[in-house]
């Protein structure tokens, strides 16, 4: 039995044209193909500058591809994010595509618990239940309970990162994009994250991520996807 | 020197009557008219005088009151004026008059279908203190968009604990037009509602006429939990003993002694005559 295909990149290219740097053109991705199935965890590998983060951002539609297609299985049909309308992209992000970056984008004055619960609230979950789930997740990630009612702006890097992971994983999404979410975590917390990812995969999520730490990579990856930097064109 | 009957020329009277007909046809609506220079200054009742002049016929009996009294300067002057330029009969008795011009009161004696009450109006626009733009107030009237008027009543309650507006209390005429009843005390507002007599309003300086036709529903604005209420007094009139008329507080000597008397001199006088008889 073959696992369900969740994400398919075809002939994907991304270059940046800098109009105010004498029209300089940076080619970052070229002709890239990738297939991601439910239940697997593909880890992007390669030196810095190989375009790993750029690839994740293109898939999340944070960057616009210059060429090629980003097909994602969304609500039982296929959608090419390269051609989707903003409203379609927003719906894909809400229900299908999760993205956890290295950095928490801090929303001023909002307590940690509400930041984590927000994606659930946007799905229409009952606020009490959403906060309960957020609390469970924060507890598992060893974020001390005394911090839950504070805005995370002043937290340490590791604490912020765990808040970010909790927020990114609280809604079980079919496709997860992870951009070094464990960079500032200690070994114990990495184990927790690895467990959470294993649970998500077992529940049918497909994971595509960047993990620089060898140990973490071995813990989570079912497959590596090597990437090379392109020479400047 | 002789004047045309009732001072104004016939063309002006015709213009006034046409405007008055329109005003009667659209109860509470302010009809613009070509206000004339009169032989007394704006603010002394030029609007009311022009309306009276347009209505007077040789058989009319005219009464003029100022704050309820027949014997104050403004009332005496206007009554004499029409006696001279129209030769009409005048009276101080409400029941005898066919036409009553008034400043700031409605007589206590109930009016009849064959009587007309003419009000002198300084500011015909009830929304003016809140909205200075004429074009905007006209639009608000056209759309019956009157939330603004309640802002004023709200402010009254917030500041004084009750609706403190005690005169020129805004009314809704025939369920449609927000209207100023002229600066009569709110005590008189209930007399506007379904009055058998025709009520006409003239604002000379602002060049507006409006009307409340006989038996028209006139509602004083209010809140559900702060209903419209009229003034009441702990005193009775010290001259006639009336307990249901509008009372003026009068200082009678240099020691500050006060007494409360009816503001309507005819009403008070008639009661005293009856009591003596």
């Amino acid at each position: 039995m073959t696992a369900t295909l969740m994400l398919e990149l075809r002939d994907l290219s991304k270059s940046f044209e800098l109009h105010h740097q004498h029209g300089a053109r940076l080619n970052v991705l070229r002709g890239l193909d990738l297939r991601l199935h439910a239940g697997e965890c593909v880890v992007l590998s390669g030196p810095s500058g190989a375009g790993k983060s750029t690839l994740l951002r293109v898939i999340y539609a944070n960057y616009r591809p210059s060429f090629g297609a980003v097909h994602v299985r969304h609500a039982e049909r296929w959608l090419d994010l390269a051609k989707a309308t903003p409203h379609e992209v927003l719906d894909v992000r809400r229900r299908t595509l999760g993205y956890v970056s290295q950095f928490l984008r801090v929303i001023p004055r909002v307590p940690t618990l509400d930041i984590v619960a927000e994606p659930l609230l946007q799905m229409g979950t009952d606020p009490h239940e959403a906060r309960q789930r957020a609390a469970d997740l924060l507890r598992r990630l060893n974020v001390p309970e005394r911090l839950w009612q504070l805005p995370p702006g002043t937290f340490s890097g590791g604490e912020q990162q765990r808040v970010n992971i909790a927020r990114g994983l609280i809604v079980p999404r079919p496709v997860l994009l992870l951009d070094e979410p464990t960079a500032s975590l200690d070994a114990d917390n990495r184990v927790v994250v690895a467990e959470l990812l294993a649970e998500a995969r077992a529940a049918g999520s497909a994971v595509l991520g960047i993990f620089h730490d060898e140990d973490m990579r071995e813990r989570v990856a079912t497959r590596l996807f090597p990437m090379q930097a392109l020479e400047a064109a | 020197m002789t004047y045309n009957f009732a001072f104004l020329d016939e063309d002006t009277k015709r213009m006034l009557r046409r405007s008055l007909l329109k005003a009667v046809a659209i109860p509470g609506y302010q009809v613009p008219f070509g206000s004339r220079e009169m032989p007394l200054p704006y603010g002394w009742g030029t609007g009311g005088i022009q309306v009276t002049a347009a209505l007077l016929g040789p058989d009319d009996v005219l009464k003029v009151i100022d704050q309820g009294a027949d014997d104050t300067t403004n009332a005496v002057n206007i009554r004499r004026f029409f006696a001279r330029v129209a030769g009409v009969a005048t009276t101080e008795h409400t029941a005898e008059a066919t036409l009553i011009q008034t400043r700031h009161r409605i007589p206590e004696t109930s009016l009849r279908e064959d009587q007309i009450l003419v009000f002198q109006v300084p500011e015909p626009e009830p929304l003016r203190t809140l909205e200075p733009r004429e074009a905007e107030t006209r639009t608000l009237h056209a759309l019956a968009d009157y939330g603004l008027m309640h802002v004023k009543l709200y402010e009254d309650i917030a500041q004084y604990g009750h609706i403190a507006t005690s005169y020129d209390y805004p009314v809704l005429v025939d369920g449609r037009f927000l209207t100023s009843p002229s600066p009569i005390p709110k005590f008189d507002n209930p007399k506007l509602d379904r009055s058998p007599a025709l009520m006409l309003f003239g604002a000379g300086r602002e060049k507006r006429l409006y009307a409340i036709p006989p038996y028209t529903h006139v509602e004083s604005l209010a809140f559900d939990d702060h209903p419209f209420e009229i003034q009441c007094w702990e005193h009775r009139c010290e001259l006639c003993g009336s307990g249901e008329s509008y009372l003026d507080e009068v200082v009678v000597d240099d020691q500050g002694t006060r007494m409360f008397v009816c503001s309507d001199t005819d009403f008070c006088g008639s009661r005293r005559t009856e009591a003596q008889a």
């Binding site: 940046f16 109009h19 105010h20 409203h87 | 968009d145 709200y154 917030a158 209010a222 939990d225």
Partner: protein, 256 residues
């Protein structure tokens, strides 16, 4: 999902001068759209034209009412336009003094729109006014104070309360934080973000500040010289700007 507002080919000309030119977009229920661009780029003209405060030179704006029926705003009578503005829309101006009634108390400012809709119970009006003052973080004890004595930030929060008290479906905002100190700005933006989420408001907000767009809007339109030069997801526009003007705008921001 069906749109709430459909703008097609909208232009506004002042004689030979172009206010905005050939602008089209859809706004969905519960969505906040930011229009960014520098002064003179036509943002406010666009906003006023979409909100039917100016008659367009060309193009159309359609609005889907509470009852589901579409309204063509260009053919609307003054009475219908005001009814819409009173019952279904709100408008927040840059200078709160333009949007407030300065000679009446804070409470009356909040209650006015409710009274315009026919609410005639004083205690109920007071109660709602008080709860809205608290909602926008103004001490309810100041309900009877005139807004002239309020700080700029408080006045703006009062204007927001006055606008949102009738739970409009669509709100137009013209640089609601532009005239305020940075610290006061953050508080108002946070407040707006919360209220927009809680009330499920749809809103079009004009701003020159990209950080405001990032914080509040899922979608953004970039305007230059009266035309929309780039439109899309806010994060896409800020992180991967395509048009030279957008790149300039993004690179001019100190931190976002």
């Amino acid at each position: 999902m069906s749109a709430l507002l459909q703008v097609r080919g909208l232009s506004q000309h002042y004689g030979q001068r172009v206010g905005c030119e050939d602008v089209s977009f859809d706004l969905h229920p519960g969505e906040l759209l930011c229009v960014v661009g520098e002064s003179g780029s036509g943002k406010s003209t666009l906003l006023n034209t979409v909100a039917a405060q100016l008659a367009p030179s060309a193009g159309s704006v359609r609005y889907r009412q509470r009852n589901g029926a579409w309204l063509e705003l260009g053919t609307l009578s003054e009475a219908d336009r005001r009814r819409l503005a009173r019952e279904e829309w709100g408008f927040v101006t840059q200078n709160p003094r333009d949007g407030l009634r300065l000679n009446v108390s804070a409470g009356a400012n909040v209650a006015e729109r409710l009274m315009a809709l026919g609410m005639r119970n004083y205690s109920q009006l007071r109660g709602i006014a008080r709860s809205w003052l608290e909602r926008v973080e103004i001490d309810a004890a100041r309900i009877d104070d005139a807004p002239t004595g309020f700080s700029g930030g408080m006045q703006q929060r009062l204007q927001i309360a006055r606008t949102l008290v009738t739970q409009p479906r669509l709100v137009f905002m013209d640089e609601p934080t532009a005239g305020l100190d940075v610290s006061v700005q953050a508080r108002i933006l946070d407040l707006l973000r919360r209220l927009v989420n809680e009330l499920g408001l749809a809103a079009v907000m004009v701003t020159h500040d990209l950080a405001v767009a990032r914080l509040l809007a899922a979608r953004t339109m970039v305007m230059q010289g009266g035309r929309v030069v780039e439109t899309g997801l806010t994060d896409q526009i800020l992180d991967d700007p395509q048009h030279p003007y957008t790149q300039l705008l993004v690179s001019s921001v100190l931190t976002t």
